[in-house]
Amino acid sequence: MPAGWAEAERAAREAYGRLVAWLAWQWRDLGAAEDALAEAFVAALERWPRDGVPAAPESWLLTVAKRELLQRERRRRLEQSPAVLALFEAEPEAAAVASIPDRRLQLLCACAHPALAARDHAPLMLQAVLGLEAKTIARACLIAPATLAQRLVRAKAKIRDAGIPFETPEADELPGRIGAMLEALYGAYTVGSELASPAPEAEPALRDEALFLVRLIVQLQPDDAEALGLLALLLHAEARRPAQFDADGAFVPLTRQDTQRWQRAAMHEAEATLRRAAALQRPGPFQTEAAIQSAHNQRAFTGRTPWREIAALYALLVAQQGSVGARIGHAVARAEAGEAAAALAELEALPAASVASHQPYWVARAHLQRLAGQAEAAMASLQRAIGLTADERVRRFLSERHSGAE
C-alpha cells in the first residue's frame, strides 16, 4: 500500500463523521458537504503518497473541501449568504485548526428532524455520520438500493431547501428529538430479523453501525437516560448472541440458552450503563426494556428466571408504551409466574386485527394454551405461528415442537 494511503484511510474512519458534521453545519447543506469531502479524499489519495502526509491531515481535508464548496457555488451562481461566503473566502490556506469542534450531535438532530419522514431518519444518520453507501443500508433494510438512494437525495435536498437547521433543539424539545434518533437506531438494529443474528445467507445487518451511533449519542448527550437505556438493551442482546444457536446451528430460545456462552463483558457494561441511567431518575421505555433483559440475565448467576419481577417490569412497559409486544411479554411472564389461565385471558383480549399476522402472538398463545392444559388449541396456534415465521431456523425449531408434541 502506498504511503499516505493508510493515513487517508485512518483519517476517513476516525474523523469522517466529525468532518462532515462540521462542514454541513457551516454550509447548511449535507449533500454538498458529503460530495465536497469525497473530492477532498480523492485529492488526498493522489497527493499524499507523492507529497507526504501533511502535519494536520484533517485541516488539509477541510481546506480542500471548503474550496470545492465555494467553486460549486460560483458555478451554480446561486445567492449564498454573504456572511457564509466571506467566512470561507477569508480563511488562509491550510490553516492549522487546533481541533475541529464536534458537530455530530447537531448533524444527528438534523437527520432526525420531524420535517423529514421518520423512515428516512436511520438511513440518513448512518450515511451522514458513518459514510455508509445507500446500497449497503438498503440491502440490510431489504429495500431496493435505487429507491433508498433516491429517498436520501430528496431528504438532503429538503434539509437544504427548507432550511432544516443543524442545531440541537431547545431544551424542552431535545429529549423528543433524541427519542426519534433512538427509535430509528433501534429499528436499524433489529430490522429484517426476529433474532439478534440474521441467517448466514441473509444480507449483513447494521447492528454494529447502529450500536456505534447509540454509543456516540450517549457520549455526546450523557444525561439522556433513554439513550443509556437503549445502549444497555442493545448490549444485552449482543451478550446473548453466541448462545442463540447450538453447535448444529439449531435455534435455542432464551430460557434454554447455555448461559456460559453469554458474553460477560457485554453484560457487565450493560448493567453499568443501566445503573447510570437509573441515577438520572428519568424513567422511560428503553430503560424498562433493558431492565427486563437484565432480569432475564440473572439466570446466569442464580440459575432461575425471576418471572414475577419480569411481569412487573412488563406491566410498567405497558403503562409507558402500551405496545402489543409489551402486552404479550406481560402475559407470558404472568403465565410463567404461575397465573396461566389469567394470562391466557389477557392475551386473548388483545384486538384480533393487531395480532392476526403477528408471529410472536401466536407463539405466546400456543405456549400459554399448553400451560393452561388446552393441548389441541395449542397445536393450532403453533401451526399458525409456523406459517408466520420468516426465519428458517426458528421455523424448524417450532416445527419440531409441533411434531414432538403430537
Binding site: 451562481r77 445567492e79 420535517a115 427548507a162 432550511g163 432544516i164 437547521p165 442545531e167 433543539p169
Partner: protein, 120 residues
Amino acid sequence: MEYMLLFYETPEEVARGQDPKQAEGYYGAWMAYIGAMQAGGQFKSGAGLQGVSTATTVKVQGGRRQVQDGPFPDTREHLGGYVVLEAPTLDAALEWAARAPCAAAGGVEVRPVMQMPDHP
C-alpha cells in the same frame, strides 16, 4: 430565508369568524398574531382570503378551459389566508406557524419561497 405560511381552517373555525358573537375574538386573535410578527420585523406580506364559497377553480384540459365551483383540493380544511415571513431556519418558521390561531383547528403548511438569483 422567506417562508410562506398557508393557513387551513376547519369549517367550524371559519363559522366562528362569521358569528357576530364570536367574530371579535376570532379576528382579535389574528390581529394579535400578525401584529406580533410585524413588531418582530418578520412579516413580509400576507392577506386573509374570502370564504371558500367564493372560490373558483380553473383548469385547461384538451385545449378547453374548465371552470369549476369550489377550491382546488377537496379537503375538509380550507385555505383561509397566507403570510410570507422572514426566518433564519425552518424551526423559526415552525415556531410562528404553531402560534397561528388556526393551528389547533385546522393546520398550517410551511414552505420556503424560491430564491431568485440576482441577474447581472
